[in-house]
């Protein structure tokens, strides 16, 4: 497998997670491509205009750009989220699509973003693309670890409560606005960081990076992967990114009838669509569900969890 595909798969997995985060609090936001594009522009502008160096681009600068992109996207998400998250369901989805469009049109017309041409010649910190895996893989593990912990603590429980029943959550002392905006910000920060990394990986950045199409792609990653555990979006993002390449590789296998090879090579979009349709019919919960994970790793995990949750009670009762 070539390393560019592997990096694309990891980036897609993280973008799917950036959509999963607001979804944890029940908010269907399609704003991720907007923050992804913004993060990319921040990295592109910083590295081509301000961090000009001779020789290889320092990795530390790249990390600084990722941090700056995350911070900027977090602030923008706060400003956009407070009014936007008053909308519910499909109206929120529409508003976030509008947000992505606004950013796209802005980037097409501003001078700093390079207009329609975009920014190219983004400096490379590594001599080969594969080395980006040293940043991409830890970043993916970090974001997965973050969400794994998040689902087990107070904030994650508040998100789940709002997803289940916003009114009942409020009646339990949970501020819906604070938690919804927080979930939205976390998703935006992740998308921004991924954008900054992508700009370097792709070497060029332009207004085609954050579009309505990508909104739908990320949504497909989450829906097909499964939206009830964070493993779903990761699997979905990786699988759907790898699928076209897999089909192309299949077509190149010798001995296939010419028409089939041709179809595999050029009919990718058709196959893609059929798979999505079949997936939603036969796996409406997505490929990965909490039940599936429980069956795969369950017995050991559940026992550990039970021990963890019952033991402190015994101690507490004794002390009382």
């Amino acid at each position: 497998m070539n390393s560019f595909l592997l990096i694309s798969m990891i980036l897609a997995a993280m973008l799917a997670l950036s959509l999963y985060l607001p979804l944890m609090a029940g908010q269907l936001s399609l704003a991720s491509p907007g923050f992804y594009a913004l993060g990319g522009y921040i990295a592109a502008v910083m590295s081509t205009k301000y961090f000009v160096v001779t020789g290889p681009f320092p990795v530390l600068y790249l990390l600084a750009e990722m941090a700056a992109a995350g911070a900027a996207c977090g602030v923008l998400a706060l400003v956009v989220g407070i009014p936007a998250l008053r909308l519910r369901g499909i109206y929120l989805a529409l508003a976030t699509i509008a947000f992505v469009e606004i950013l796209r049109v802005l980037s097409l017309n501003l001078e700093i973003t390079g207009g329609a041409v975009g920014i190219f010649g983004i400096p490379q910190p590594f001599s080969d693309r594969g080395s980006y895996l040293w940043i991409a893989i830890p970043l993916l593990l970090l974001s997965m670890g973050f969400i794994y912990r998040l689902e087990r603590i107070r904030t994650g429980r508040a998100f789940a409560a709002i997803r289940e029943d916003e009114l009942a959550a409020a009646a339990m002392g949970i501020s819906p606005t604070f938690n919804k905006v927080l979930a939205f910000m976390l998703g935006a920060i992740l998308a921004g960081v991924v954008g900054a990394l992508s700009a370097h990986v792709l070497n060029t950045w332009n207004a085609r990076q954050g579009t309505f199409d990508s909104s739908i792609n990320y949504l497909a990653y989450v829906l097909i992967g499964g939206s009830r555990t964070f493993v779903g979006p990761v699997v979905g993002g990786m699988a759907l990114t790898a699928l076209p390449e897999l089909l192309r590789a299949l077509a190149d296998v010798g001995g296939l009838p010419v028409w089939l090879a041709e179809f595999l090579r050029n009919g990718r979009l058709i196959i893609f669509g059929v798979l999505i349709a079949l997936g939603t019919v036969f796996f409406p919960q997505g490929m990965v569900t909490p039940e599936l994970l429980a069956r795969l790793f369950g017995r050991r995990l559940r026992r550990a969890e039970q021990v963890a949750s019952t033991q402190p009670v015994d101690h507490g009762a004794q002390r009382r």
Binding site: L150, R154, T155, R157, E164, G173, S309, P312, V313
Partner: protein, 278 residues
Amino acid sequence: MPPTWEMTEEEIRARRVPVDEQRVLDVRHMTRQFGGLLAVSNVSFVVEKGEIFGLIGPNGAGKTTLFNLITGLIQPTSGQLYFRGEEYTGQRPHYIAQKGIARTFQNIRLFGSLSALENVKIARHTHTFGGIFGLIAGVLNLPPAPEDERKTTARAMELLEMVGLAERAHVQARNFAYGDQRRLEIARALALEPRLLLLDEPAAGMNAQEKQGLSDFIRMLRDKFSITILLIEHHVPLVMGLCDRIAVLDFGQLIALGDPRRVQHDPAVIEAYLGDEG
């Protein structure tokens, strides 16, 4: 006025939160209009500390609307609400819950796909370290997060134990029987450590035997947690035997208020509500 670092009398008075322990809930001239319909009309009453206060009335009398007003789920057209002497009219529901008013719902509103334990743990929200720093501490499992989490689980298990659901703590809430769901909802409300507990038809859907036990259970809650209880109930014998005082609503208006015996013999009440009960 000479400049001074001391606060004036007036400022001190304005800053002091007027806590009135005795008057737990003070509802004043509460009115709510839905279009042309007066769902609640000029209702005033005081619930005192340690009381079990019943709210009864025929269907559509405005009882649940009044509950929603008290907990901030809907806003009054006019009137004021005071909790322990402090006005809180117009506050958001989560603020009111944090202040110490918890409730259950007539049409049970549990977090269905979460476990019983998670349902109760969620209601410990206001009693754990939160905000952005709480999030960071929680994700990294740094103090005070592990201790908070341990206490939250322990407290939630105690409450589940009390309502008899501890054995099924890991079962999804939607898989419980109706009566168990009601008890789980009460455990969840108690996890907030409220001073005032609002129960919306706690006996609905319970069988005769469960109803019998419910009176003792509610009294036990009041004594064990030293809380005040305001409840809506249709089952008249239960209300009469359980409540210290009763308010009767009819077409959004308060038509009677007092101890159960007096209310039961009030002619207006008999006509409006108890007439068909004999």
